[in-house]
Symmetry: C2
Subunit: 323 residues, 2 copies
C-alpha cells in the first residue's frame, strides 16, 4: 500500500513550502489556481479551510488615476505595522503578465524588494468563469500562505474589474479632478462598490467641483442601508499627501464593518454568490458544449430573425423540458 | 387516421376565435400562457409567427405617480386614431388579480367599455422565469390577436417591473415633483430604461427642481450612444394637461427608432435576450431540481459558514466537472 511519491510540484508539497515562506512555491500555487485544471482544483481544496484570515482591500479607478502609486503608499502603512501583504494586480484585458504590470511594479518601488510584500499579476489560463471566479481562489491561496492584507488592484473600471474590486472587504475608488471620460460608462457600478473615494492628483484644478459631483451622484444613487457614508479623501499620492487620511478612512470602514457584524455577513454573502456563479458557469459551459458556441449563435440568429420561437430554440439547445 | 377532436379550449380553436374578435378567447389564451404548461407552450408556438406587428409602450413609475390616469389619456390618443389597443397591467407583488388592478380599471374609466381596448392584469401561474418571461409571450398573444399598440403598465419600480417596462419599444417613466423615496432604490435602473420622462402632478411645487435633478441624473448616467436624449414632459394627467405632449414625445421616439433601423435592432436584441433568459432559467431549474431547493439552501449555508468549498458544493449539486 503505497501512495505515489509527491513531486516538487505536487499541491500539498507546494503549499507546505509556501507556508514556510517560499515565494516561488506561492507563485506556483497561484499559477495552478489560474490554470483551472485538476491540480488547481486540488490547491483550491487544500487552501479553503486555511483561508479567511486576511482583510481584503479593493482598489479600482480609471487607468492613469494613480492607483499603483496610492497602493504603494498604503503598502507603506501596512508594512509600518509589520503586516504581511499581498497585492493582486488584475487586468482582464491582458491574459498574461504584460507591460502594464511591469509599470505597476516600478510604481510600487521599494516594496518589490520587501520580503513582507508579495506582488503578483492575475491571469486566467483557463479558470472557469475568468477573473471574477479566479480571484477569490487566488485570495484564499494568499490567505492560507500568510497574508494579513490582500490588495486587489485593477487596471481599469470595466465590468469585470468593478466586480473583482467590489468583492473586497473595503473598496477604494480612485478618481481624479474632472473624473475623466474613462469612468462614465460604469459610473453607477463604481458608486455601488465604493466604500472610500479618493480624489487623487488633488493638486490639480477642479477638486471642489469633482467633490460636489461625487456627493450628488452618491445622493442620487442612494445609500445601501448599512449606515456607512463613503468618505471622499483628497490625495496627491506621488508626494504622499493624503495617504494617512486614506489609510484612516479604510480603518474606519473596517471598524464599522466589524462592530456591526456586517463583515461576517458580507463575507458569507460573497461565498454564497461565488457558489451561485460557479453553478451558473458550469451549467452555461454544459449548454455551450451541447451544440458548440457556433450552434448557440445560429439559434440566437434564428430567434432574432423571428424564424424560430425562443422556447423551441431552448429545446433544441437543451433538449425538451423535463429531459 | 384521425386527429383528436379539437375542444373549445384547444389552443388553435381559441386562437382562431380570438383573431375573430372573441375577447373571452383572447383572455383564455393569456391565461394559458401564464400557466406555463403544455397548452401554454402550444399557444406560444402558434402566436410566434403571427406576432411582431404591434408597437409596445412601457409605462413605469412609483405607485401613486399617476400611471393609470396617464395610460388612460394615452389610450384616448390611440383610440382617436382608431388603433386597437391592449393594456397589460403587471404587478409582481400580486400573483392574482387584486385590488390594485380593479382600481386601475376605474382610473382607465371610459376605455373599459370600448371594444377596441383590451385591459388585462398579468399573473404568472407557473410560467418559467416569472413575469419577465411571461410578459413577452403575452405581448405576442396580443399582437397575434390584433393589437396595434400594447401598453405594459407596471404597478411599481421594483427590479422585475423595470425589466418588464424596459422591454418595450418606447418606455415612459412617470415621476412626481420631488421624485419620492419610492424610486430611490432603483433610480439607476429607471435612468437606463427611460426614453421619455413625465413629471406628472406638475401643478404641485418642485417641478423645476425635479427637472434639474433629472437632467443631472441623466448627465451622470451618460447616454447610451443611440443619439436620443429623453425629453422631460410636464403633465397633470387628471385634467389631460400634457397628454398631447407625452403622445408627441412617444411619436418622436418611435420615429427616431424607425428612421435609424434601431427599432429592428432593439427587437432582435430583446429576442436574443429572451432566449438567453429561457436557457438560464431552464438550467437553473434543472440544478434546483437535482437536490431540491432545500438542498441548495443547505449547500449555500455550508459554503457561507466556510465548512464546504464552493467548488465541492457545485460538484455535489451538479455532479463532478465533466459529468
Amino acid at each position: 500500500m503505497s501512495t505515489p511519491p509527491a513531486g516538487r510540484n505536487d499541491p500539498a508539497t507546494l503549499l507546505a513550502a509556501a507556508r514556510s515562506g517560499d515565494r516561488r512555491a506561492r507563485a506556483r500555487l497561484l499559477s495552478l489556481v489560474e490554470s483551472g485544471d485538476a491540480a488547481g482544483r486540488e490547491v483550491g481544496r487544500l487552501v479553503f479551510p486555511l483561508a479567511g484570515g486576511a482583510y481584503t482591500l479593493g482598489l479600482t479607478g480609471a487607468p492613469g488615476a494613480g492607483k499603483s502609486t496610492l497602493t504603494s503608499g498604503l503598502l507603506g502603512r501596512m508594512r509600518a505595522e509589520d503586516l504581511p501583504v499581498a497585492v493582486l494586480a488584475v487586468d482582464p484585458s491582458s491574459p498574461f503578465t504584460g507591460g502594464a504590470i511591469l509599470g505597476d511594479r516600478v510604481r510600487m518601488g521599494d516594496h518589490v524588494l520587501d520580503a513582507g510584500v508579495f506582488i503578483r499579476s492575475m491571469a486566467t489560463r483557463g479558470h472557469l468563469g475568468g477573473l471574477a471566479l479566479a480571484t477569490p481562489e487566488a485570495v484564499r491561496v494568499l490567505e492560507a500562505t500568510g497574508a494579513a492584507w490582500v490588495v486587489l488592484e485593477t487596471v481599469g473600471v470595466g465590468q469585470v474589474e468593478i466586480e473583482v474590486a467590489g468583492a473586497a472587504d473595503t473598496t477604494v475608488v480612485v478618481l481624479n479632478p474632472g473624473w475623466g471620460d474613462a469612468v462614465q460608462a460604469n459610473k453607477a457600478g463604481l458608486m455601488e462598490i465604493a466604500d472610500v473615494f479618493v480624489i487623487n492628483k488633488a493638486d490639480r484644478d477642479g477638486v471642489a467641483q469633482t467633490r460636489r459631483d461625487l456627493r450628488q451622484a452618491l445622493e442620487l444613487a442612494g445609500t445601501d442601508g448599512d449606515g456607512w457614508e463613503p468618505p471622499i479623501v483628497d490625495a496627491v499620492a506621488t508626494t504622499g499627501q493624503g495617504i494617512e487620511e486614506v489609510w484612516n478612512a479604510v480603518g474606519r470602514h473596517r471598524a464599522h464593518l466589524e462592530s456591526g457584524g456586517e463583515l461576517a455577513t458580507r463575507r458569507a454573502q460573497r461565498l454564497r454568490g461565488e457558489l451561485r456563479s460557479i453553478v451558473g458557469e458550469r451549467l452555461h459551459q454544459r449548454a455551450v458544449g451541447l451544440l458548440g458556441a457556433a450552434g448557440v449563435g445560429r439559434l440566437e440568429d434564428e430567434v432574432a430573425a423571428r424564424r424560430l420561437d425562443p422556447y423551441d430554440a431552448a429545446d433544441e439547445l437543451l433538449g425538451p423540458v423535463g429531459a
